[in-house]
Structure formats: C-alpha cells, structure tokens
C-alpha cells in the first residue's frame, strides 16, 4: 500500500497543481465518475495557433483521480488542441507509475476524459445515457 500511495501521488492530491477555475477559459468540460461521485471540471484557455495558453481543473475525488488531473494539467501548456486529442490512456496511467486495479482505472482516466471533452469543445459526452431526469 505504501507503494501504491507513493509520496508524489499524495503530494499532488494534497497540493494539486493548476487547481481552481480559470476565469478566462475558452473551453471547459465537466464530468463525473458515477461509481464513486468523483468530479472534475477541466478549463482551457486556447490562444493563437490553437495552443493551450493556460489550464486548470476543479473538482473533488480520490487521490488517484485528483493526482492524475494535477499531473496531466502540468503537461498541456503550449500543446495544440490536436495534440491534446491525441493523448492516450496508457500515457495517463504511466504518469502515475503504479499498477491500478480495474476499479481504479476509471478514477485515473476521469481527468483525461474531461481534458478531451474540453479539447473537442463538447458539452456532453456523446453516446452517454439519455438525460431523462
């Protein structure tokens, strides 16, 4: 367990980087993990050449989901929207450097889902259950 909750994961969890709302965001996307109620909103400020000028996230959740978002947002400044759309799941899991159980993979990937949703300019994830309530 001490391996799983490595020092740098706990550091990102307790003191997340790029945390908070970005007032001048041009793109934003909110998503939740319905299994546990984890929430992440990703904010992007896209400037000239479709590049990320600034990024932040807000939300609440477990150490894995919050650390994953903190690490991911550290990487995206200066990247183009196309580059964001190309980030793959394996990369996000590698960032954490630990073996995740299947139940925790969803926690780790919530930040990527929110980042892609914002990069694609989505308001709602396509193909999700019909909003009936």
């Amino acid at each position: 367990m001490d391996d799983f909750y490595r020092e740098f994961i706990l550091d990102h969890y307790k003191n997340p980087h790029n945390f908070g709302e970005l007032a001048d965001a041009t793109h934003r996307y909110h998503d939740t993990n319905p299994l546990c109620g984890d929430e992440i909103t990703m904010f992007l400020k896209i400037g000239a050449g479709d590049r990320v000028e600034d990024v932040s996230f807000s939300g609440k959740g477990c150490a894995i989901s919050q650390a994953s978002a903190s690490i991911l947002t550290d990487e995206v400044r200066g990247k183009t929207l196309d580059e964001l759309k190309a980030i793959d799941r394996a990369h996000v899991i590698e960032n954490l450097g630990i073996t995740l159980t299947p139940a925790r993979v969803k926690c780790a990937l919530l930040s990527l889902k929110a980042l892609k949703g914002s990069a694609w300019g989505l308001h709602e994830w396509p193909g999700e259950e019909a909003k009936t309530s």
């Binding site: 546990c36 109620g37 984890d38 929430e39 150490a63 009936t132």
Partner: protein, 419 residues
C-alpha cells in the same frame, strides 16, 4: 489479525459455529484473513444454501410447472415450497401473494409499472424520502415525471431520521402512493414504518416498502406493518443473486395487469386474446430462476434456525462495540444515528483527508471488504453534503475481532495518508 471474538463481549449467537457454515470465510485476501464487512451490499452463502442448489442440479433438475414427470414435479414442489417458506417468514396471509423476481429492484419496478401506471395520473402526488436507495427512488421519480404527478421527497434530521413533520405535511397532500424504506442502506436507520404506513393509509395512499435491508436482519411481519407491497432481495440474506421477492396484498394483485408477458403467466392464449394465470404466476413470466428461489428457501430455513431476533441482537452488539471505538478516532466522522436505537449494523463514515475509495483500497490490502461510494444513495449523499462515504455493514457471522480489524485498518489508512 485474529477473527475470534473476545470472550468478554456478550452475543446471543455462537458465531464461531456459524462461521464454519460459510466456506468463503476461511479464505485469505492478500495473505490476510478475509474480513467481510460489505453485507448491506451482498451477503455470503452458507453450505446449506449451496448444497440445496447443487442438489437440484445433481438430483432432479427439470423445468417447473410444465413437465408431467417425476423430476419436474419434484423441482416444482421445491420451488413452491420455497414460496411457502418466504410467506411464513414475512407472515404473509397467503403464499400466492409472494411473487418471485430477480431482486428488490425488479419487485419495486413491478409495482411501479403495474399499480403505479394504472393509478397515478396528472396532478396526483407520490411521496418518497431522501433515505431511499435508488431502487425505491428512481422508479417513483420517473413515474411522477411520466404521469405528470408531483414527487414529494421527505427529508431527514441531522441524525438521519425521517422528518415526521414533513412526512405529515406530505400526507396532507393526499398522495396516491407512498414509497418508503424500512431500513436505510446508507445509514442503517430503521424507519417507524408501521406508523408511517398508518398515516399514509389514513391519507388514502397505497404504501410500498423497500425491505431489502430489514428482512435479512430482523423479523418483518407484513400484516403487523400493514403495508400494501413489500420487496426484498435474496442475495442480501444468504441466498443467491436472482432470488428476489415482492409481496403484495392479494386484492390489489388480483386487480393489477401483468408486469411482463410470456410463458407461464397465461391461462389461455388465442390469436385474438390472452387471459392471465392465477396469482402468483400471473407475475412470473418465463422460466423463473427456480434454483435461486430454492436457494432462498434454504436461506430462510437457516436464518430461522439461528433466529432473526438473535441475529438482530448480535448486530446491535457489534454496533454498540463499534460506535465508541470509531468515534474515538480523530478525524473520523460518523453519518447517521450515534447510538443503537432503531438501527441495524450499517455504519457509514468518513476519514478527514482521505477519499472513501482510497480508504477502501487500503482496507483491501488488509483483507477488509467494505463499500466505498454513494451506495446507490445519491440524494442522501447530497443531503449529507458528501459525494461518498465508507460503509461497514455487519451480519450474523461477523465478530468483535473484525470490528477491531476495522479500527486498525482506519489507523493504517491514516498512516499511509499521513493524516
């Protein structure tokens, strides 16, 4: 970590003897003895239930209600025998009022799709509570939406008990249907169901009770409660998944349309029209999960042999042992009642600075199984101001030493997270 009970704590059960009936309880997880504290989610199964089901497959498996041959008749008798056992367990006036379904969720949906759709219309009022599991909340929310009815949701107080003033105000609106839980799966609170039902009846409503957390842990008597429908799941009471029950008063069931159409639920089918089978089969379309139902019958035998009152008393003793020990841990917040009055062995808590999922993962490394998340209780979690809790839930085979293991595991989680 040992799993034997310290002799000093009183319980009416011979827990060590009970544990020997459950093969899974001898297993280890990550090299540690299994400490299974997720019973509100699903229970483990005793050898007696496993054997009852195996013996159907090995000795007389054949479809029920169809064959005119020995094995079919034996299996049918075992299936209908299980129905009678369930009827006695909940003191149903008649066995034909006991309808087998997959689980409490399906039973509640049966009532929503039949009685609900036939009787709830535009401008009507449906009442439920913020304590409900999604299975007794979403069907009524959707029924109200589809029918153009008003959904009134009764709130709880700071301890998690229903606000009786709000409930009375809801009754003043003369609801058509009231859906209440007998015992909260999130907080372990036992609602004053008998009084709530009487108030609802006085207001002219039909009452649906979610008994998924009460029937496995206490003596439930539908005639004493006075409810109109009551649903529960076999898998939470030592029986296999797929063995659920919805009980309804015969005079209501007789007048209701079928829930699903198909084989076994008809009396006569012509090209032009179909007439329905008698109760309970009118509501049991297709081949029932008859082996699961027979497993439920064996589980009822087991629970009655141990004694549901004694099981409740044992769980109360576990809660009485756990509450002060958990409250004494700095950073631990308990949700729900802080004493053993009107509650079952469900304890929801939070540890400051550690998300419930992380708590559960660290517990897993210690061999402890608990539930982490919203427990299919999102309206309740929102009411409590949290997205998720960690929930430990007890059953007849849990020991006081396992409560000690829970306390130790919280210490481990705090150590890992340095809080």
């Amino acid at each position: 970590m040992a799993v034997t009970a310290p002799a000093k704590v009183a319980t009416p059960l011979d827990v060590e003897r009970i544990r020997r009936d459950f093969p899974i309880l001898a297993k280890t997880v990550h090299g540690k003895p299994l400490v299974y504290l997720d019973n509100a989610s699903t229970s483990q199964k005793p050898r007696q239930v496993i054997d009852a089901m195996s013996s159907v497959f090995e000795e007389h498996n054949a479809n029920i209600h169809r064959g005119v041959y020995e094995f079919s008749e034996r299996t049918t008798a075992a299936f209908e025998g299980a129905r009678e056992k369930v009827a006695k367990l909940i003191n149903a006036p008649q066995g034909r009022e006991v309808i087998f379904c997959r689980n409490a969720t399906e039973g509640l949906n049966l009532v929503m799709h039949t009685w609900g759709r036939e009787h709830v219309g535009a401008g009507d009022v449906v009442v439920t509570t913020v304590l409900e599991h999604h299975s007794n909340f979403v069907p009524w929310q959707q029924l109200a939406k589809q029918a153009g009815a008003e959904l009134v949701v009764v709130d709880i107080d700071a301890e998690g008990r229903l606000r009786r003033d709000q409930y009375a105000a809801a009754m003043a609106k003369r609801p058509k249907l009231v859906a209440i839980t007998h015992t909260s799966n999130g907080l372990g609170v036992i609602t004053p169901a008998k009084e709530l039902i009487a108030e609802a009846h006085a207001a002219g409503a039909i009452v649906v009770v979610d008994a998924a957390q009460s029937v496995p842990h206490s003596r439930v008597d539908v005639q004493d409660l006075g409810c109109d429908f009551l649903a529960f799941s076999g898998h939470k009471m030592l029986a296999p998944p797929g063995s659920g029950v919805v009980w309804g008063r015969a005079e209501l069931l007789e007048r209701m349309s079928p829930f699903m159409y198909g084989g076994d639920m008809i009396s006569r089918v012509t090209v032009a029209k179909t007439s329905w089978n008698d109760l309970p089969w009118k509501f049991e379309a297709g081949t029932s999960a008859f082996v699961d139902a027979i497993g439920l019958g064996a589980a009822v035998d087991y629970l009655q042999a141990v004694g549901l009152d004694r099981i409740h008393e044992h769980e109360q003793a576990l809660v009485a042992y756990a509450l002060p020990r958990l409250q004494a841990i700095p950073g631990v917040t308990l949700f729900g009642p802080k004493d053993t009055t009107d509650r079952v062995g469900v304890i929801s808590f939070a540890i400051a600075g550690i998300h419930a999922h992380d708590v559960a993962q660290i517990f897993d490394s210690e061999g402890l199984c608990v539930r982490a998340g919203h427990h299919c209780n999102q309206p309740l979690m929102e009411r409590l101001g949290t997205a998720a809790t960690t929930r430990a839930s007890f059953y007849l085979y849990n020991t006081f030493a396992e409560v000690d293991a829970l306390v130790a595991a919280i210490g481990k989680a705090k150590q890992v997270f340095k809080v």
